[in-house]
């Protein structure tokens, strides 16, 4: 059984490029309380030191899929918060 106080209370967020540099690393943990959607998570990240880097063009993937702001986020999901893409 998963213990709510240990695993389920934290969302692990992968960060990339400028976001990883400014927000404290490639993998951060965010308390899950009060976060139900992608929009909630972004609001929380923007409240961090240097959170202004998370601009309006930010992309979020939940479990490897691009996910709009209304997408549900649960502890245990693989959540990635990404600056605008620049491949190719």
């Amino acid at each position: 059984m998963i213990t709510p106080a240990s695993v389920a209370s934290t969302i692990r967020v992968r960060l990339f490029a400028s976001y990883a540099e400014r927000l404290g690393g490639e993998l951060i943990e965010v308390p899950a309380e009060g976060i139900r959607t992608v929009a909630d998570l972004l609001e929380r990240l923007r409240a961090l030191p240097n959170g202004a880097v998370v601009g309006p063009a930010t992309l979020v993937a939940v479990n490897l899929r691009h996910s709009p702001p209304g997408t549900a986020v649960r502890a245990g999901d693989e959540v990635a918060v990404m600056p605008p893409l620049a491949g190719g």
């Binding site: 490029a17 600056p83 190719g88």
Partner: protein
């Protein structure tokens, strides 16, 4: 099959992957590192990716192209440090006729640029280092830096 690589991209190898005796038209695209970006002289750059999602998205895009046109198609995206002129991305599409080869090749490079999570950090000749697109986003307020944004 891995579509991301830290080794130099060899176009001949990609062509061999998709060529075949019934596919007489092979269209390719190479994206190489340019020596300038928005008017500033570039020394080199580094690509980084959200690797599992990038691999999965490349696979999806290639399946979409193969479903839409009668082609064999492949791609590679380089990661790590690149110098001016190095190949950053390659797409090759082979079909029975050139129409479908060109169309599929074009589709894949456009989708790749819009959907595959890869980022580029440029080192300029003046010594500064910048993540591409990061500054655009910081300048605007409520304005999207690119067409593929979600909010």
């Amino acid at each position: 099959m891995s579509f991301l690589t830290r080794l130099p991209i060899q176009l001949d190898g990609l062509i061999a992957e998709v060529a075949g005796p019934d596919r007489g038209g092979i269209a390719s695209f190479l994206g190489t590192v340019r020596d300038h970006h928005q008017g500033r002289a570039v020394r080199g750059l580094e690509y980084t990716a959200y690797e599992p999602m990038a691999e999965e998205t490349c696979r999806e895009i290639l399946l979409e192209a193969a479903a839409r046109w009668p082609v064999q198609v492949t791609l590679r995206h380089r990661l790590g440090e690149l110098a001016i002129g190095d190949v950053a991305v390659a797409v090759v599409a082979a079909g029975g006729h050139r129409d479908e080869a060109f169309a599929a090749c074009r589709y894949v490079i456009e989708e790749l640029k819009g959907r595959v999570p890869v980022w580029k950090r440029e080192t300029f000749v003046d010594g500064t280092v910048e993540w591409v697109n990061a500054s655009q986003q910081a300048i605007g307020s409520g304005q999207s830096a690119m067409g593929e944004t979600l909010e």
